[in-house]
Symmetry: C2
Subunit: 346 residues, 2 copies
């Protein structure tokens, strides 16, 4: 029958009833409960029964229905991952990493992407409907929205956003610290005239980075600092540098709130303004994305330890799925300074 591939059986195949544990039970001459037990690791089944059932199951091509299982066990084995469009674009690998780590622990990623901030409420309703076991959130949420999730008793972890005024689960990279390292590096090389291309004003990460840099510059007594706002895109890095340079041509060090803008900045310096990097202008970024290491850029930057961060997010969420009483926790990772060659040496 498996070999017959005529149009007719083709059709029959399509509309054919799914095979359930009852079908397997009937074929094996046992009860449905027995079949269920055979698929549960560590259940009390004799090996004779197991063999019998497995034979029938394989014969019928039976796979347990995860939906039905979820209904009764109240565990869907799905974790919602919520990403805003931008986040997704700059850290593609994060999604894949999270998915792989979760699936290694028997959970799947149900993906929720956010086009506009305003869609969040609808999206949260959706997340709740799907009865996910937990959420990993890499998007901006308001206080009330967080309240709404907490009220549902759904475990969640924020990825790269933390809230100083809230006890909340989060894994982050220490943006401020990394930015201070970069400033030290630039100041150590003798730079005195700084430009900063910040992230968009609604980005928590962007704000932390820029604030970290500004604070440190202030501490070491640098007061010549100009800031223009970017949106994390290549174009905004390029335009940002042009604006800065027009405003104050003496600038010789630019701190960008992420790598992609830093790359735009390097390109603008070299290809539009004719400024040598790092000879005439030092440029630093943040993130350590793939292209930052390409030899045309070779950015001086701080890399986020993505592997450790995703692992932390995954374990935090799963620990809380198992035990919702766990205290909330923030795990903050230090970045990794990448020397690169886009900043002048001392």
């Amino acid at each position: 029958m498996q070999k017959d591939r005529s149009a007719e059986t083709d059709h029959v195949r399509r509309v054919r009833k799914r095979v359930t544990s009852y079908d397997v039970a009937r074929r094996a001459g046992v009860s449905q409960s027995a079949v269920s037990r055979c698929f549960k690791p560590g259940a009390s089944v004799s090996k004779k029964m197991r063999a019998q059932v497995m034979k029938a199951a394989i014969g019928l091509g039976y796979q347990p229905n995860a939906i039905a299982r979820s209904l009764i066990t109240r565990r869907s084995n799905m974790v919602a991952v919520v990403v805003s469009q931008k986040t997704a674009l700059y850290y593609p690998e994060i999604l894949v990493e999270i998915s792989q780590r979760l699936s290694a622990r028997g959970e799947r990623v149900l993906l929720f992407t956010l086009e506009q901030e305003s869609d969040i409420d609808l999206l949260l309703d959706q997340v709740l409907q799907y009865q996910v076991d937990g959420m990993i959130i890499a998007a901006r949420l308001s206080g009330e929205q967080i309240d709404a999730i907490e009220d549902r008793g759904l475990p969640f972890v924020f990825y790269n956003r933390s809230f100083k005024d809230r006890q909340i689960n989060a894994v982050c990279c220490d943006q401020s610290e990394g930015e201070r390292w970069l400033v030290n590096r630039l100041v150590g090389a003798g730079h005195k005239h700084f430009g900063i291309i910040s992230g968009p004003e609604d980005s928590a990460v962007g704000i932390e980075r820029t604030q970290g840099a500004v604070e440190r510059l202030h501490e070491v007594g640098v007061s010549d600092v100009d800031i223009v706002e970017g949106d994390f895109s290549y174009e905004s890095g390029r335009d940002g540098l042009i604006k800065l340079h027009r405003k104050k041509p003496s600038i010789d060090a630019v701190i960008c709130a992420n790598d992609v803008m830093a790359i735009g900045c390097v390109d603008a310096a070299r290809n539009e303004l004719g400024l040598d990097v790092p000879g005439r202008l030092s440029i630093v970024g943040f993130d350590g994305v793939g292209p930052s290491a390409w030899s045309s850029y070779n950015l001086t930057t701080v890399r986020q330890p993505v592997g450790r961060m995703t692992e932390a997010a995954v374990s935090m969420i799963l620990e809380r799925v198992e035990n919702p009483e766990l205290q909330s926790e923030k795990r903050i990772f230090s970045g990794i300074m990448i020397e690169g060659g886009s900043a002048r040496s001392a």
Copy 2:
């Protein structure tokens, strides 16, 4: 009660029973069926009833349980998206696009990532267990594996891989055509000594691209063609050019099977071999990824129409979820020639 946020109610909140349609029914003084109908668009309910039920539902914070619904309707509203690690890295935006387009039509992405080819069978079992409505596959599958999916009667669409010898749903970009355009462009500029950096030998897309280029070169009478194998990574583009140049220094045009390798190639030419691009060496890529447009590279390439392709994949899969009898179909899109500046002009 909502205002009380002490540790005690916190605990109570966590273990509290979920609110079901029965709870809503009881509060509204109606039957469970009525509640269910109120949440089904187009069902026969009086407006008085609807108002009553909605009030109760909102009061309790009720959201229908999608898992229970799926069980009875036999429709999970989830589409599995299967990506191999590499695919995911080079087309991050694809995943986000697919997710957004699917969610606009009421479906969610359940993500399956593939670390190794060997994991596919386990992964397919998982996909089947979750009772997804369909699959979008951007990974290599063997003939038997495809058979296995077909046997389940699960609709599926391949993204950017097609099988000449099989009637199968697929959306692709016409790799061969694009590659021929690029060759025409290079030959038109007078190039005679070609190098090709291919994709890995197990990549269908890579093979089509390289074959397309080779065929066209042959047609126009170019016989001086050297091929080295790459793996789509920046490093392999860089190393590929170095190998090619060592083997035959007269090469003046390099065709890379994707943009990232082309970028590696440009960097190697300029920063390691000291060859001007496009003055001494023309380099072309394929894909039209973001960095290909960065001014340091400004690649001459063929862009895949990602938006139209993802839209096509999404509609194809959903049409087949609604109507599994539909004929299988291949939708092949032409790429978009991007002139760029990494290839010499005529």
